[in-house]
Symmetry: C2
Subunit: 460 residues, 2 copies
């Protein structure tokens, strides 16, 4: 009796294990990824100004255009956004920045005080509530956060430095939205605001935050250029911009090949094409702005009277900085820069799934190898940084070839085919590496070694 | 030489360990938690209609009122929201629902087609963009998602059932916002939309989703009542509501103590206070609505022509359901129900930090016990479900008593004091359990056993 009971227990454990495991892996058959099939003779409407990233992400069911300049993030896009948000959260935590969220609607009165109610122009979308009170659909939150901090009184100097950020949707009523997420009306942005006791402390904060920004961009891994920036409508004493160099970029950057300095051309007079540092001729590059840091001084704390109590108990204006990352824009710009032709390329760290396993076709000679699929998914998921990052293309009525093509288009960095060679005495799996652009037939043990090695070398 | 090298290696490892460890623990001295100090003789302005949760969360630096009916989530509130979001994501994944995000702005035209442009009344906030195009600041997304799905053509019956949800900010221009997050103008909501081939399949989906909702509320652990609901402005054939019973609730619920059925009083005529099932007298309770599920039929798919291709290749209307969870409202309602007097109580699973360790006061007799603090934080963080859930109140110029009081107000479920008894030969730590309302002096080993036992029994 005891033996039977033990066996039942064991079976139930095996069953449970098997059950969990079936539940755990994501499957393409279940994935909502509406592909756009474009007839070969289709002509784009003249007014559509599109970009490679927009075309690929929309056609591949990652984004959907819902209205002029407004996009829905579909499940794969949402996953990529979540991954980018995690990287940003981690780097913000490393500089002691704390996350909060402010309302999207900011009282218009605050924007009137700083003068931006008028100066921002038509890009600022305004709304009146039922009581005729003015609100701004905030494109940025300097007014809102400074007013909030100013409301906290007394605010002791001991609570500074203070670093607060949010990752929320912002609205800008673009005259002519274009290039998909690169210039749209509703976008996801990370905005950080810093508060310090003195100019000196604010500059030191500024440098620390810039280093955190450098780390964010290094982890994403797309080459970037940091340039002296234009303070524009945000204002302040100095700023830097982070750009992804790309032909479609809307900013002209001037780079000095000799001393390495870089500047946004808006800052220079038309004629000045020599480096102010070394006199070398400057090279022109177009860039997509993906981040912007501002040393603000008291530009906002003064009109909104945002003070701390200094050591003598006297009110003193806070010295501020603000720092933006275009979260949804980074995603699209990375795809824009990395992709080629019909295939999306994601930065390794942002890929919606890192590994796609393709099962054998039903009724084919290799069909019996299907038992390998879940097992392989399981052992790969056991690699800590690949947990929840494996998807199985289980649409077994489609040929392997068609599914490989779709996996390449979607941009999974590693595609593993369980095909003919998986039926051999020593089963081999075809590992298609889209980053190294190589294909190898490997045993299960070699697949795991390959991926472990990969994970080790790719920034995470 | 080798010996020296080994020792250097070891030291560097110890140093690195120590370094990571200092960085890792959250500290109250670093936390942005602006407390409101209310003078004892203060009188509330007459027009402020407040609730216990609003008062506690605002005074305790968890929320900040930024404008009439609009709140900022401060770091502790943001952490609680993130935890609730995680629970919801997990339960949605368990029923194969996929997360996406739709724009906040929905074209007004879609709301005109369904008739809700007019019927929603003044609660619907509308805006015109610079090209005079109408948009809705969406309080819900039936129109937006149905229009999106309808745009995907052909949509094969093989892709159904489909379940899509988002967790995003919604806007409702309340006439009279009140009770903090319980009735405000900008709120965080989870909205799920389901699509099925037939009424039968839609009802089966409905039941499956209701079970997932039950699990969400069971995991939060606050007692809830599920009642037959009023379809209201959303419409459809039937609905259920999830309520937290509370005196401040704005819905009247009628419960049958005998057969267990429960109904929203809005559904019944004034005189009907007997159970339709068993004739028993019904008991009245007030409830805060925290979730609502609707079986919609073709209410939205019909006007917006949302079809799938059936097996014969013919278009057929999709059968829908929609399911809401008031994410920010659940947070406040849970605090409303659980808290007493001046102290917040969080559901265990949503507490911003689960354990607060209070270090000894500087210059006191027990000051030398300070070396225990980081160590204790480290060993507790090693319990998997308490990782990143420990905060140290390191404000060592304040007395232990003052800090314990503040920790109780903030609602950390477990408070551990490193005080006098930590200096004894066998160091003891005072464990204040706010859920069991008990205090015990335990050794380090006992503290860990206590917490492990706790974690095992509390739903996570």
């Amino acid at each position: 009796m005891r033996g039977i009971h033990a066996r039942t227990m064991l079976l139930s454990r095996v069953y449970r294990h098997f059950f969990c495991f079936r539940m755990h892996h994501h499957r393409v058959s279940q994935l909502f990824q509406p592909l756009t099939v474009i007839p070969k003779d289709a002509t784009l409407k003249k007014e559509e100004t599109t970009s490679l990233s927009q075309k690929l992400m929309v056609n591949c069911g990652i984004l959907s255009s819902r209205s002029n300049g407004m996009y829905a993030f579909l499940p794969l896009g949402q996953r990529a956004l979540t991954k980018l948000t995690k990287v940003i959260d981690e780097e913000m935590a490393s500089v002691n920045a704390q996350r909060l969220s402010l309302p999207l609607l900011t009282p218009g009165q605050l924007w009137k005080i700083t003068g931006r109610w008028e100066s921002t122009g038509q890009e600022l979308l305004k709304v009146k509530d039922r009581h005729e009170k003015d609100y701004v659909l905030s494109p940025t939150h300097e007014e809102a956060i400074v007013n909030f901090i100013a409301d906290i009184y007394p605010f002791s100097h001991r609570h500074l430095p203070l670093r607060l950020y949010q990752i929320t949707s912002k609205i800008r009523d673009e005259m002519k939205p274009r290039f998909g997420l690169l210039r749209c009306k509703e976008f996801l942005m990370k905005d950080l605001y810093t508060f310090d006791v003195s100019e000196e402390a604010a500059v030191s904060t500024y440098m620390e935050i810039c280093k955190a920004y450098d780390r964010v961009f290094q982890r994403i891994g797309v080459p970037f250029i940091k340039v002296e920036g234009d303070c524009g409508n945000i204002g302040g004493s100095f700023s830097h911009e982070y750009h992804y160099p790309a032909a479609i970029g809307e900013d002209t950057l001037l780079l000095c090949q000799k001393c390495g300095t870089a500047t946004n051309a808006e800052l220079l007079s038309d004629s000045s094409h020599t480096c102010s540092g070394c006199g070398e001729h400057l090279t022109k590059t177009m860039g997509i702005e993906v981040g912007h840091t501002f040393c603000l001084g008291t530009k906002y704390s003064k009109p909104l009277n945002c003070c701390y109590q200094n050591e003598k108990g006297k009110p003193s204006l806070m010295q501020m900085g603000c720092y933006g990352l275009g979260v949804s824009r980074i995603l699209a710009a990375a795809v824009e820069v990395l992709s080629q032709g019909e295939q999306i390329r994601w930065p390794w760290i942002l890929a919606p799934y890192k590994v796609c396993i393709i099962s054998p076709k039903k009724g084919s000679k290799e069909a019996k190898a299907v038992s390998w699929v879940d097992h392989l998914a399981q052992v790969i998921s056991n690699i800590p940084s690949l947990q929840d990052d494996v998807i199985i293309d289980d649409r077994e009525t489609l040929t392997i070839g068609k599914r490989v093509l779709e996996a390449k288009k979607t941009g999974y960095p590693i595609i593993i085919v369980v095909g003919k060679k998986a039926c051999e005495l020593v089963p081999l799996f075809e590992v298609i590496d889209m980053i190294k652009e190589s294909t190898e037939n490997l045993t299960q043990r070699q697949v795991l070694e390959y991926l472990r090695e990969y994970v080790k070398h790719c920034s995470t």
